[in-house]
């Protein structure tokens, strides 16, 4: 191996490298691929890259539609009984065939101590082997969206993991490194050729992959590039073919370079503003003895004071998609029907006067300054827009670690008016409904991130029904109804969904998915 590298280096040194013929796709991200163990970190980029090596029970297409993955079909036998049939002839990279035993093993492993993806598989789900390619999942409660997240329930090889002492994901406090975090053995279209954490990861195509090969690559090299200026320079100089993210101020430069373009499709994260509607007196306001946000007219005035088009054009340089819904249209098609209230500063002033605040009042807007795209600038714009209706808003922007420690559950929701962004990991409406919107309830584990303390019993009732409804049409109707009530209550001010920020070389064709996954099988290079 080492001699081979030496020879290769020598060949390259004398210009004899065959690099001109092999198609190598270089891609660079601002962060690292942290660990090759697919269960140790619930972070989008890491498992998006690992999704080229490992595969889940299902997979998703370019528009996030659910497609058969390692399971070729599945059915609901009864509301609490699912049956999955595995694809035949699938082999792991080491040659072992995929069987039900591997799925059962993975279902145990992903829920074991040390796994950060425990929530992918419900704790009470019982996996039962029917035969080598069929298994049942028995649930305590009906769960209509059980396989939705299973694109990233990566299936590992039982024999390989056991032989290499990696039966469980390495726990955070372990004192020895684990084999599975430095090596990988999946079923996916690419195999790991070499992995040097934080430096370089090299992938080779898996010739025995079961799926339809759509890429034309011979090799893929991943490098993290931390500095934004260097990352953009590497793209423009042609050394890398794909970067993420391109800083907003460099979008035009990349587009005008002639060698690369920006792909800025719509992302799934919804950015919104929220108000404290539960306290009896606002903590950060000059209104004493009562909470003006309990009055719907005040919330509506705030909503209509926000000129969303100005934010889109001036702050986001048109790289944002205004929305009136608390869920991305990719995850709930009915989101398009939830329209924004119109921008109307005069009407907002009148609403405030009707509510008893003709001269406005003061409020502090809490905002992160390094979490979402241009988060602080958006808040500054909101502050000046509110000034037009005599609301004296002052901005308190902080770095993300301090910000979230203050406004979330751990900080006892210490805010009167705030900004937050949310994209459901489950890719389904139930997640925002039960996390952001349901009345806070510790025992039922509901509303943990309901920072404003919004509470409507009707919505809670619907949320409970949605959770157990297995009929898609009925379920969607209930989801639409719940979001409608939330919007009528003006529980939040949804702003926009962000745009993605890929920089892609002109030599490369690639499919961009709204959840920011990079699928190497969809890459072709000229």
């Amino acid at each position: 191996m080492k001699i081979k590298t030496l020879l290769l280096a020598g060949a390259l040194a004398f210009g004899l490298g065959s690099a001109a013929y092999a198609k190598t796709f270089h891609f660079a991200f601002q962060g690292e691929v942290k660990s090759l163990d697919p269960y140790t970190l619930n972070e989008t980029f890491t498992y998006s890259v690992l999704g080229n090596v490992y595969e889940g029970i299902i997979t998703r297409g370019p528009n996030l539609e659910i497609l058969p993955g390692l399971a070729e079909k599945w059915e609901l036998v009864s509301p609490t009984h699912w049956r999955f049939t595995l694809r035949k002839g699938v082999k792991f990279h080491n040659g072992d065939p995929l069987t039900t035993d591997d799925v059962l093993f993975s279902a145990e492993r992903i829920r074991a101590n040390g796994s950060d993806l425990k929530l992918r598989v419900p704790a009470d789900a019982e996996f039962k082997k029917v035969d080598d390619h069929t298994f049942d999942v028995m649930l305590k409660n009906p769960n209509p969206i059980l396989p939705n997240e299973w694109e990233t329930f990566f299936i590992m090889n039982k024999k390989w993991a056991e032989a290499n002492n990696s039966k469980e994901p390495q726990s955070a406090s372990a004192t020895t490194p684990s084999f599975a975090s430095l090596n990988a053995n999946g079923t996916g279209p690419f195999m790991i050729e070499s992995h040097q954490a934080g430096v370089k990861t090299v992938f080779k195509p898996n010739k025995n992959w079961w799926g339809k090969k759509e890429h034309n690559l011979d090799e893929v090299v991943f490098t993290p590039i931390k500095s934004s200026a260097t990352r953009v320079a590497a793209l423009l100089s042609g050394e890398v073919d794909w970067i993420d993210p391109v800083p907003l101020q460099d979008f035009d430069r990349v587009d005008n370079s002639g060698v690369a373009k920006v792909m800025a499709g719509e992302e799934t994260r919804v950015i919104y503003l929220g108000f404290d509607q539960s306290s009896d007196e606002l903590k950060y306001s000059d209104v004493k003895g009562k909470n003006p946000f309990k009055d719907k007219r005040v919330r509506q005035a705030f909503y209509q004071a926000v000129d969303i088009n100005a934010i889109k054009e001036k702050v986001m340089r048109n790289r944002a998609y205004p929305t009136g819904a608390m869920i991305s249209k990719f995850y709930f098609s009915g989101a398009n029907k939830l329209e924004r209230l119109k921008y109307d500063a005069e009407g907002a002033k009148k609403l405030l006067a009707d509510a008893g605040y003709p001269n406005g009042f003061s409020i502090t807007l809490d905002c992160p300054n390094d979490r979402y795209v241009n988060d602080e600038a958006i808040c500054q714009a909101v502050v000046s827009m509110l000034a037009r209706i005599n609301i004296k808003a002052s901005l308190n922007s902080q770095t993300k670690s301090k910000y979230f420690a203050k406004i979330l559950e751990a900080g006892n929701y210490d805010t009167s008016f705030f900004m937050l962004g949310w994209s459901p990991g489950s890719m389904d409406s139930l997640n925002p409904l039960s996390n952001l919107i349901a009345c806070r309830n510790k025992e039922k584990k509901l509303g943990a991130t309901n920072v404003g303390g919004y509470c409507n019993a009707k919505v809670d009732e619907l949320t409970a029904k949605i959770k157990g409804e297995t009929d898609t049409a009925k379920r969607d109707a209930m989801i639409a109804e719940a979001f409608k009530i939330v919007n009528d209550d003006i529980a939040h001010i949804p702003l926009h969904t962000q745009s993605l920020a890929w920089g892609v070389s002109k030599n490369v064709e690639i499919v961009q998915r709204a959840d920011n996954f990079i699928k190497l099988n969809w890459v072709t290079k000229k």
Partner: protein, 325 residues
């Protein structure tokens, strides 16, 4: 002599313990490492459990003690982000940093000395004035700025040199080097110049002022009077005598080149220890931070020790005071 060395070694040990103690108190402010270990959906109870299992809830003195005991056995634990042994990570990154540092030092000597000699001998020529101006830029421009400017000129516009990385690396197991491949050489040029620019300026100014001084001394005048050719006077007699302080300074600066390569490494995505440290700070990866700081303090302590020992062997007066102390 032996007593002197032992005393200096003990002092060095105290410095290293002090550095790690200061580092440990600072780790309280880098944020919660558990946030970096797990994703957003992890429950509060689970986070608390991980904190407990990592021993982050113990008093800081206890954590520090535990760290010292392990560090004495060269065990720095497992990186929170990469789940690899910290010592393996650091040792695999060390060659990159050392190679860069030595190339930068070499570059600073190779350019700095001739430039210094020239500006001292031909004080009023236009080239001297250009050298002086360049050295002013070298001292006043921040490293990341020169780095980015070079990237845009040589990588994006001219496409001569790579903008990031190390090129093809040859691995010998205990050491890896980019200096055996053509791409490796191309990759190291810009980072080495960026990192060495400040040192080059320093060397040039030092050589210049020393040369000016030496040229005024009597033995140079006598040499001239004897009719020795100018080249021989300038390079054999004058330059030789200016080099002693230069070598001392460069030796001492080597430590800071290695330690402050962090910025250059992050601009060029050079996969060295500095970049590893920077990522560790951002991700609150305490085991890496601790090990890196200890290593750097060890480096400074040992370089100083070597310089001190050299002085002792050169200058007997220090030996005598050393005993008296």
């Amino acid at each position: 002599m032996l007593a002197f060395i032992i005393r200096r070694l003990l002092q060095g040990l105290i410095v290293m313990v002090a550095v790690s103690a200061i580092a440990f108190t600072m780790f309280q402010f880098v944020g919660d490492p558990v946030n970096q270990i797990v994703g957003a959906e992890t429950t509060t109870e689970e986070r608390a459990q991980i904190r407990e299992s990592l021993g982050l809830n113990d008093p800081i003195v206890l954590q520090f003690g535990r760290f010292l005991v392990k560090a004495a056995k060269f065990d720095f634990g497992i990186s929170y982000q990469f789940r690899e042994k910290v010592s393996d990570l650091i040792f695999s990154r060390m060659p990159a940093t050392l190679e860069l540092a030595f190339c930068a030092a070499f570059f600073s000597l190779l350019c700095g000395i001739p430039m210094g000699v020239y500006t001292a001998l031909r004080r009023d020529s236009w080239l001297s004035k250009i050298f002086q101006a360049v050295s002013l830029i070298g001292i006043s421009l921040p490293t990341f700025f020169t780095g980015i400017i070079m990237i845009f000129l040589f990588s994006v516009t001219l496409r001569w040199l790579p903008s990031f990385g190390r090129g093809d690396v040859v691995d010998f197991g205990f050491w890896n080097t980019g200096l055996l491949s053509w791409t490796g050489w191309k990759a190291i040029i810009m980072p080495a110049i960026t990192l060495g620019l400040f040192q080059m300026t320093l060397v040039m100014r030092l050589v210049r002022s020393e040369m000016l001084e030496v040229m005024r001394t009597d033995y140079i005048k006598f040499a001239r009077a004897r009719g020795i050719p100018a080249r021989s006077i300038n390079f054999r007699h004058a330059l030789k005598n200016t080099l002693i302080p230069v070598i001392t300074i460069v030796g001492l600066q080597l430590g800071s080149i290695i330690a402050f390569a962090i910025i250059t490494e992050s601009v060029f995505q050079w996969p060295g220890m500095g970049l590893l440290f920077l990522t560790a700070v951002q991700n609150a990866d305490i085991p890496i931070m601790a090990a890196y700081l200890i290593l750097i303090s060890f480096l400074f302590v040992s370089i100083n020790l070597i310089v001190d020992l050299l002085y002792v062997s050169v200058d007997p007066r220090i030996r005598i005071t050393g005993k008296a102390l």
